[in-house]
């Protein structure tokens, strides 16, 4: 018996690492992150960022990007929930990792953080392209801003940018306003306008441009103004979340601790906004914010509690769903006023905003349309920064049965009257005909 237990425990402990999966509403915790570095010195120079992640319970595993033993999956199971690429100069990943493996990793719902930098390798650019952003092709180009630069006593080339053009979304950047500008030095990228999944989180100012600061410009730079994205995020259709930035140094301890004063502004901030910005955005990336789940979808006729198998046209019905948001430790009620329900057959027949009780319960009631067929209850909730919620439930709607129509229509009384008077006449006539002499 004891032996059996030992085998059990041993097999569980062997299997345990392989049981880890992407973020799922069922097992949202226990997340392992693989961090690929060009050099272990980054562990020390960027330790504040890593420590912030560790203190939130992430299990970081640091590896050199060209370590021949690294792998994302073994025996078809992913070993990690997320991947951080802090290796801008890697030409070829070690082990079994390549761009296709990273794309597959994301396609199976895992999260990814990519930091490129000046002289980023083609490999990292390719990863960026797969994620939907295009880094400036000139290898020595940097984002330069002669108006929005950070004042510094030692850096005179205006490549250290103080940017404060954030996306307006509390769910991505947290509820607390980021007061200090973000220090950024690196390459810019452009977001394809056709790609609706990529969002610019931090954009450059209108006066910025991307060019090599050391050479004269003869042709217009490919990226200028606020079209340059400094930090972008992607939320894939499978809710995998990605962060792409052209600066590795913005994660560094030095930028985290450094004070910042934007050129032309008198306020000098003690600390740059980098720490708050990157920590908040990592909460979003790792699904500690903005991940929704919907449970307890219920619908029934008004005044009843059981869910019917089908509805009749013109029935009054009630629909309710509970929506919760993951807060990193628990599921909290999701509060919003724009969750909408569609009653759908080929196109929505009814589209109604659900009312919320602020405790996660959303409900509404409406009258079934007088069209019969197979309908769907659809909740398609898409909101900036939140995972998309897509619920659908099929429900048939039937017409009236023959005996469900109105029985005594006053307008038809003359017809009834005629028939009954005819019948009375016949009754009397039967006497008159048979017995009259």
């Amino acid at each position: 018996m004891g032996k059996l237990w030992l085998i059990c425990i041993a097999s569980i402990s062997i299997l345990l690492p392989f049981l880890c999966n992407a973020f799922s509403p069922e097992t949202p915790t226990d997340r392992r992150v693989l961090v690929l570095l060009d050099d272990f010195a980054i562990m020390s120079s960027h330790s504040l960022y890593f420590n912030a992640l560790k203190s939130r319970g992430f299990d970081l595993e640091f590896k050199l990007a060209d370590d021949p033993k690294i792998a994302l999956q073994r025996y078809g199971q992913y070993l990690y929930d997320a991947l951080i690429l802090f290796c801008p100069s890697v030409e070829r990943f070690g082990g079994s990792i390549d761009v296709a493996a990273i794309v597959n990793f994301v396609d199976s719902g895992h999260d990814l953080i990519v930091a490129a930098d000046v002289n980023a390798s083609d490999l990292i650019r390719e990863v960026g392209t797969e994620c939907g952003v295009d880094f400036d092709e000139d290898p020595s180009a940097m984002v330069i801003d002669h108006i929005g630069y950070a004042v510094s006593g030692t850096e005179g080339d205006h490549t250290l940018i103080a940017s404060d053009d954030f996306i307006k979304s509390d769910v991505i950047l947290g509820g607390k306003k980021i007061e200090a500008p973000i220090l950024f030095r690196g390459i810019g990228h452009a977001v394809s306008p056709a790609n609706s999944l990529v969002l610019k989180v931090l954009s450059a100012s209108p006066s910025a441009y991307s060019a090599n600061p050391k050479s004269k410009l003869s042709t217009p730079p490919p990226l200028t103004g606020s079209a340059i994205s400094l930090v972008s995020i992607v939320q894939a259709r499978n809710n995998a979340r990605l962060l792409i930035t052209g600066s590795l140094s913005m994660f560094s301890n030095r930028f985290f601790r450094s004070g910042v004063q934007k050129a032309g502004s008198q306020t000098k901030h003690e600390k740059s906004g980098n720490e708050q910005f990157l920590t908040e955005i990592s909460k979003w990336i790792f699904h500690e914010r903005g991940h929704l789940k919907a449970v307890n979808v219920k619908h029934h006729r008004v005044g009843e509690t059981d869910e019917p198998a089908l509805y009749r046209i013109n029935d009054e019905l009630e629909y309710a769903v509970e929506i919760y948001e993951w807060s990193g430790t628990s599921w909290e009620p999701y509060v919003a006023n724009d969750v909408q329900l569609q009653f759908y057959m080929m196109s929505p027949y009814v589209l109604k905003t659900l009312s919320s009780d602020k405790k996660g319960l959303y409900s509404t009631s409406f009258k079934v349309p007088d069209v019969y067929g197979v309908f769907q209850f659809k909740v398609e909730h898409q909101k900036l920064g939140y995972t998309s919620l897509s619920l659908s439930k099929q429900i048939p709607v039937r017409p009236y049965r023959h005996n469900e129509y109105e029985r005594f229509i006053p307008a038809a009384y003359p017809y009834y009257g005629a028939a009954f008077s005819m019948m009375a006449g016949f009754f009397i006539f039967s006497f008159a005909h048979l017995y009259s002499k």
Binding site: D38, D39, F40, A41, M43, S45, S47, L48, F50, N51, D66, C87, P88, S89, V90, E91, D117, I144, H146, G153, T154, G156, D157, I167, K168, P193, A194, S196, K200, S207, K216, P220, T224, G225, S252, N253, N314, Q342, F343, P348, L351, K352, T353, K367, D370, V371, K383, L384, N403, P410, Y413, G417, M422, F427, F429, A432, L434, Y435, S436, K437
Partner: protein, 692 residues
């Protein structure tokens, strides 16, 4: 190889993140605050004595006031380790190291016991680390208590057995059965050997010391170099679990070197620039985020500050961006790596070169004045020949006392990139629409690029737009900014950017719309114009909206390129949709109820007429059977008919078709039976009557 190269590149990157390349700052307050953050004991004490020592040593070097409780808890764990008989040489070593700073009391009996135990472990040692801990422990005891008589009986023998681990390239092995050698081990070995020399009761053979000297020089031959002059040691065995990384390795070598230089009387003949290179390496990593790295950095810098080989001096610059407008003066600080004072010296500006050009120096050699209050060397006022732009200044440091040259090392010349900024004058800016064929000016307008402009122009595709302005530096020279863009933005957000070219001071751009029609996607309409002029040396970089131009371009031919799609505003992409409510079919229109009832009344009228007609005809019931049996049948027959008719009424009121048909079936059979009886009776009666 690829990995080493990658590592090299990134470390370089990290170095360049720290400071603009080629500039190093001595240790400052940011290190002190970082030290307090990094060395925070959890629950009052550190995890191990090694960490306690590292924290105490870092605080000591940085001059941070130790918290008394930190020392007290350290003392408690030191005396525990020292008192326990089971603690290993390593534990004892770190306990004594921590004690060298904490200065706790260790009772004599315990220290005697330690001495004998450490002596025993020296004689029983078989690996480099065994020797390191036990010899190190003995040296620490000797330093801490003057009374204890600590010496190695067979110092030369121990020296030889440690020396046996050395390799021909100056690296060392950890033990005789481990073939891998490393620079990290070399540092440990040097420290151990220095300990042995100081513990030796008699002189060590000079030939041993001189072979060791050669080893050190060989070790320094394998030193590696970054672009900015920083030197470091790194071990080639990346896969070995003893691999320490360049910082620990370099730190270990430096510690060993300092210890060895301190005990030997000989000059090690290491060139000063090697020490300067090491100093640059340690200063280049800025503030490490890891406690171990931090300790290694600070401890190594302390070694560099106090070593007997040569003490590197660092030139530091409070600011390398100088503004002509504010009349900034160039300030230079000279200090040791930890930022302490240096002997009297002179800082000279030897030359200044415009970066990118290899012309002769722009300034004559001159000395900088020393300012006692700030401790900085100041160049009052920039030379007239220095205009805005970026330059490389070359400095030279000369020590006043010749004997200091033995101790300190500065490097011959230090090159520093300096950027000079100033206000650029923007003049004669104007914008005009020209007729293409003649070049005659159709409409010309002055621009005020410093203020607001709201110019409105109109042009067709046969005309040209000309924008011109002049830029001059504060010293009246022509200035070419890095960024001089004219941006035209159509109402549909399609943007076109043009670089404004120059000839001397005059900047001019002519847009010939005829040639640009295709580029503009044949989009007529209002174009907003925006001019951006910016440069790193320009303090008044500007981004001004000039106004707009109304372009009248020809219709697009069929094959013309379409404008690229413009990004959709992410805020409008989401958000609630408009509500939809189903429009129900309107109920049929019905006549008013009164009308229906009136017609109901009308339908009764024929029945009344029928009844009146029957009465008029004089209908009677004389034929009704008189005999009881036929009379019963007659009654039943009519009751049956009545029941059928009543069933029809019920069918209307509540019954459905199936119930009705069922009942009608029974009633029908009954009616056929009784009907047949009464009708046949009536037929028989009437036949009788006829025949009669």
């Amino acid at each position: 190889m690829a990995r080493r190269l990658a590592g090299f590149l990134v470390l370089l990157l990290v170095v360049s993140i720290c400071e603009a390349a080629f500039l190093f700052q001595p240790i400052s307050d940011s290190h002190r605050s970082a030290a307090l953050e990094l060395f925070t004991p959890d629950h009052g004490s550190f995890k191990s004595l090694e960490e306690t020592y590292e924290a105490l040593r870092t605080f000591q070097i940085l001059g941070i006031e130790k918290k008394p409780d930190l020392t007290a808890t350290a003392c408690r764990s030191i005396s525990e380790t020292v008192g326990s008989s089971s603690s290993t040489a390593k534990d004892l070593f770190y306990a004594l190291k921590a004690n060298s700073i904490a200065e706790c009391k260790i009772d004599k009996k315990a220290s005697k016991g330690i001495i004998s135990r450490l002596n025993a472990s020296v004689s029983g040692a078989s690996s480099l680390l065994d020797f390191y801990y036990s010899v190190g422990g003995l040296v620490l005891i000797k330093d801490q208590s003057s009374e204890a008589d600590v010496h190695l009986a067979d110092a030369e023998g121990v020296f030889r057995s440690v020396k046996a681990f050395s390799q021909s390239d100056g690296r060392w092995r950890y033990s005789s059965n481990n073939p891998e050698s490393s620079a990290f081990a070399a540092g440990i070995a040097l420290e151990t050997l220095a300990g042995i020399v100081s513990l030796a009761s008699s002189e060590i053979d000079q030939s041993l010391i001189s072979t060791l000297k050669n080893d050190i020089i060989k070790l320094f031959d394998s030193i590696e170099k970054y672009d900015d002059g920083a030197l470091y040691f790194d071990d080639k065995l990346v896969d070995g679990h003893e691999y320490q990384g360049p910082l620990s390795t370099t730190s270990s070598v430096l510690r060993g070197l300092t210890a060895f230089a301190a005990v030997t009387a000989e000059n090690l003949n290491l060139p000063g620039d090697k020490m300067l290179g090491l100093a640059k390496f340690f200063l280049g990593i800025c503030v490490p985020g890891d406690a171990k790295d931090f300790f290694n950095q600070i401890d190594s810098l302390a070694c560099l500050e106090s070593n007997r080989v040569s003490i590197p001096l660092i030139l530091s610059f409070p600011s390398t961006v100088l503004s002509l407008t504010r009349k900034d003066s160039l300030k230079v600080g000279v200090s040791t790596v930890l930022g302490s004072e240096v002997p009297s010296l002179t800082v000279k500006l030897v030359g200044a070169f415009s970066s990118g050009s290899k012309d002769a120096s722009l300034v004559e050699s001159q000395e900088l004045n020393f300012d006692k209050a700030s401790g900085l060397y100041i160049l009052n006022g920039l030379p007239k020949s220095i205009d805005v732009g970026s330059y490389t200044f070359v400095f030279e440091v000369v020590l006043h006392e010749p004997e200091h040259e033995e101790v300190y090392f500065m490097g011959s010349q230090t090159k520093v990139p300096i950027s000079v900024t100033g206000l650029i004058k923007v003049e004669n800016s104007e914008i005009a629409v020209l007729d293409s064929d003649l070049g005659s000016i159709e409409s010309q307008k002055k621009l005020d690029l410093a203020g607001k402009n709201a110019i409105s122009l109109s042009a067709n595709h046969l005309q040209k737009l000309r924008l011109s302005f002049q830029l001059t530096t504060p010293h009246g020279r022509s200035f070419k900014p890095h960024q001089a863009f004219l941006k035209l933005r159509h109402e549909s957000k399609v943007e076109h950017i043009f670089v404004v070219g120059n000839s001397g001071k005059q900047f001019e751009i002519v847009l010939n719309f005829l040639g640009l029609v295709e580029k503009f996607f044949y989009l007529s309409g209002k174009y907003d114009m925006e001019l951006t002029i910016g440069d790193a040396a320009m303090e008044n970089s500007l981004l001004v909206a000039i106004g707009h131009i109304e372009l009248d371009l020809p219709e697009a031919p069929e094959k013309a390129p379409r404008p690229p799609p413009q990004p959709v505003d992410p805020y409008s992409r989401y958000g609630p949709k408009a509500e939809i409510t189903h429009i129900f079919r309107a109920p049929e229109k019905r006549p008013p109820q009164e009308l229906s009832l009136a017609f109901l009344g009308l339908t009764i009228l024929p029945l009344l007429g029928f009844l009146i007609g029957l009465l008029r005809l004089g209908v009677n019931l004389k034929n009704f059977p008189t005999k009881p049996v036929p009379a019963t049948f007659a009654v039943l027959f009519h009751v049956g008919i009545g029941a059928v008719l009543l069933l029809y009424v019920f069918f209307w009121v509540k019954l459905d078709l199936f119930q009705t048909l069922k009942l009608l079936g029974f009633l029908g059979v009954f009616l056929v039976f009784v009907g047949h009886r009464i009708l046949s009776h009536l037929a028989a009666a009437s036949a009788k009557l006829k025949s009669a």
